[in-house]
């Protein structure tokens, strides 16, 4: 972004929005929007509390387990769908429906099936994340250079070597893009899952704050969750940039 011919850093636009927020808050237009400065103070006070750290660790654990399942199932399914035509015909439509379907609507059904607890949240994370990972992996493997596969075969590569030494590495940029999008959706999955269950982790806190109209704490938590999602996404994105550097001539 440039202003008056000078380059200004991107966070500057955030600063402008924070000022606008502060002004609206100070003007007391709505009780839903407290001044930004008070939200920051609330954030600083809730961070060290035991209630927050317990909630955060439960949420992180659900996120990590759900994402791990999403990776372990999503990548192999994506690879197989790219390589086996009939499998892609059977599963392709479902993956495409679920990647755009409102998974949140399924959470109440999940609660009925797997009970109200951490498992439901883990499954929600899995469902939020897995389909985009499948889809991107499939695209990556499909776009892999056919002549590299032929080359590997000509040098006597075994079937597993074609996967580990050619196809997966070739598809790595797409797979990472899928994992990044999956992780962002996964964060949504944790929050939505826990909100709907309302007795666990960050979701419980959200429920508590909104019920008691603690808007400063509520917004502080929103910002913390957003920052977490952003950090995860940026970490994967930097890995992607590194991979794209050496895969730049595919």
């Amino acid at each position: 972004m440039t202003l008056f011919g000078k380059k200004i850093p991107i966070f500057f636009s955030l600063v402008i929005w924070f000022i606008v927020w502060e002004l609206i808050g100070q003007a007391k237009l709505s009780t839903i929007i407290p001044p930004f400065s008070r939200v920051v103070v609330a954030g600083i006070t809730i961070l060290p509390t035991e209630k927050f750290s317990t909630a955060a660790s439960i949420s992180l654990r659900s996120f990590a387990i759900g994402m791990a399942f999403a990776l372990v199932t999503g990548i192999p399914i994506g690879v197989m769908m790219a390589r086996v035509e009939s499998l892609s015909k059977i599963l392709g439509m479902w993956v495409n429906i679920f990647v755009s379907a409102p998974i949140s609507a399924l959470v109440p059904i999940l609660m009925a099936v797997v009970g109200i607890g951490e498992t439901t949240v883990v499954v929600t994370v899995l469902l939020f994340a897995v389909f985009v990972i499948i889809l991107d992996t499939q695209v990556g493997i499909k776009q892999a250079d056919k002549s590299l596969v032929e080359m590997a075969r000509s040098f006597g590569a075994r079937r597993y070597q074609i996967y580990t030494k050619v196809l997966l590495l070739s598809a790595l940029p797409e797979i990472l893009a899928g994992v990044r999008l999956g992780a962002i959706r996964g964060v949504k999955g944790v929050v939505i899952g826990q909100l709907l269950i309302a007795i666990l982790g960050v979701g419980e806190l959200f429920e508590l704050y909104s019920k008691h109209f603690l808007m400063e704490e509520f917004w502080a938590l929103v910002i913390i969750v957003f920052m977490f999602a952003f950090t995860v996404s940026e970490a994967i994105a930097s890995l992607e940039r590194y991979v794209e550097y050496y895969a730049s001539t595919r």
Binding site: S147, A152, F155, G156, Y246, A247
Partner: protein, 256 residues
């Protein structure tokens, strides 16, 4: 030239692709050990298909291919392929690319890196071991592709229009290096090209293929006296010019 022992034999090879396109029809030929054999023909005559059938990358629909007295049913360690589009791993440096054939065979890293370094040096690529393919010119990439094929020490090198995507100077330099290579190592080369001059200049035996479906139209032994003469002299040689003309007289009927 005395007919040398056949190292590769095709017997009645035919190939029909899914969808009914007949690429090759009843191709029978014998390719000699330690010689440079060229498959020459217009585009779409199935010469690359034939090469890939010999390589074991494509199964023939009919007939069979025998290499060193064994029937081909897939790729084998006695054959190495050089690709027209180089087929280098973009995420691997030159050293790892050259060693890739050995890596697939499970050779320990130190041993295969040593062998690869030797091939890289012979290919004139010393100093580029840790460069990535996208940092190299087309000519250098093809040297990497050739070094990779030589590193596995196969008897037979299969080359699919290897010089098609490099410039003319590099192409001629490669041709000299290829002839040099054959003088020093007892390799059999099967070379696909659509260039009459290149085929005549390089080959001990030229297999001329007719267009779709590809069949053997004629087999020519150029018999060009090379001993000590420079490339320009050879290209003015009467024998050379006669062979070029003979092939052209046949090929021009295929040009529509």
């Amino acid at each position: 030239m005395m007919p040398a022992e056949a190292i590769v034999e095709a017997r009645g090879v035919g190939k029909t692709y899914d969808g009914g396109v007949e690429a090759l029809k009843d191709v029978s030929l014998a390719l000699s050990r330690g010689r440079l054999n060229t498959l020459l023909g217009p585009s779409g005559c199935g010469k690359t298909t034939l090469l890939k059938i010999i390589a074991g990358l494509i199964p023939p629909s009919r007939g069979e291919v025998w290499v060193k007295g064994k029937k081909v049913d897939g790729p084998g360690p006695e054959r190495a392929f050089v690709f027209q589009d180089f087929a280098l791993l973009p995420w691997a440096n030159v050293l790892r690319n050259v060693a890739f054939g050995l890596e697939l065979r499970g050779m320990p890293k130190e041993q295969r890196d040593d062998l690869a370094r030797k091939q890289i040096a012979e290919a004139g690529l010393s100093g580029f071991e840790s460069s990535y393919p996208h940092q190299l010119s087309g000519g250098m990439r093809q040297r990497v592709g050739l070094a990779r094929a030589l590193a596995v020490d196969a008897d037979i090198i299969l080359m699919d229009e290897p010089f098609a995507s490099v410039d003319e100077q590099t192409r001629r330099k490669f041709q000299e290096e290829l002839l040099d290579l054959l003088r020093h190592k007892q390799k059999t080369v099967i070379f696909v090209t659509h260039s009459i001059e290149e085929a005549t200049y390089l080959s001990d035996q030229i297999v001329l293929l007719s267009p779709r479906p590809g069949t053997v139209s004629k087999i020519i032994h150029p018999n060009i006296e090379r001993g000590g003469r420079n490339p320009d002299e050879i290209r003015r040689d009467k024998n050379y010019l006669d062979v070029v003309d003979e092939i052209w007289q046949i090929l021009k009927h295929y040009v529509v």
